[in-house]
Symmetry: C3
Subunit: 126 residues, 3 copies
């Protein structure tokens, strides 16, 4: 159910992009009850003019290795779960592919369960 959009600067090795996706998915499974098979991600690369960021908003030092993660998922996660998710994403990305925690920007978009169809034209969660 989560549909994860990840945006990074172009030029990163493919294995790094795959590791980023894997880390985000593992964090969703570890903290937010997402089933391991429920993995759907779109990972896009952008040139310098295509990924604009502030390098120190909230006194957090970002650089061109910024990873922007927007996750559409079912509503209803508690603040505790969201906090745990953010922390786990940053922790796993630091392990591999060694993304600095300052470079991890996350946004959640929540939707009701009936807003998904996983195939066959059916609303599997409704």
């Amino acid at each position: 159910m989560p549909l994860v959009r990840i945006s990074v600067r172009a030029g990163r090795p493919e294995q790094d992009r795959r590791a980023i996706g894997s880390a985000v998915h593992a964090a969703l499974c570890d903290t937010a009850g997402v089933p391991p098979q429920d993995e759907f991600q779109i990972i896009s690369e952008h040139d310098a003019a295509g990924l604009i960021y502030n390098a120190d908003y909230l006194d957090i030092a970002r650089d061109d290795e910024l990873v922007v993660i927007q996750i559409t998922l079912n509503e209803g996660r508690s603040l505790e779960v969201k906090r745990a998710l953010y922390a786990r994403i940053a922790e796993l990305l630091a392990q591999s592919p060694r993304v600095r925690p300052e470079n991890v920007l996350i946004n959640l978009v929540e939707v009701p369960k009936e807003n998904w169809s996983f195939g066959n034209g059916e609303a599997q969660y409704a």
Copy 2:
């Protein structure tokens, strides 16, 4: 009003991508009361490392012809309308460009009417 984001693997012929967009739009008109002229779509292509999916979540057999469709639209559609929309998208995509129904993943993001400007800096629906 719907803003439709469609993501597919790169390499599909342009006419197939256009047919995918047309099928999604026709389904929105047929089932969700969208005016025929109200068509706005962004269709992106991704390499293998850029479009990650599980090949059998919920026992649905997906492959590289997966079509990920995220539709931002006005809130208020009933569950019946959403079910009809999912079914019609899958039905029309099966007709052209012959997308298997298992390869149709849909997500809806709902917003209030005042969250749109269609030009001229005005909130036409508010």
Copy 3:
């Protein structure tokens, strides 16, 4: 906090794309209380088959210079603020890089404050 996704047809000069991003951000600061440093944007280019639009929905004359702007931001802005934001985006884009107001399509997606992490795995707004 706003995460801004901007989509344009490919071929526009890089300086134009940068000017588009700057105009949208300035409008957010001017009308919606966004801090100047709070700037995060993803600007994507698309070919003709990748950016589909209706050329006169609602009797607004659009062309290939259409700019599609989807802004994810904190919930709670009033209708007045949203109207001011739309008007200001169109006004500033008309100044630079001279986008016709008819070519400015805007959509807002609102989320609660706890749905953001700006780095370090923390929920800075919660």
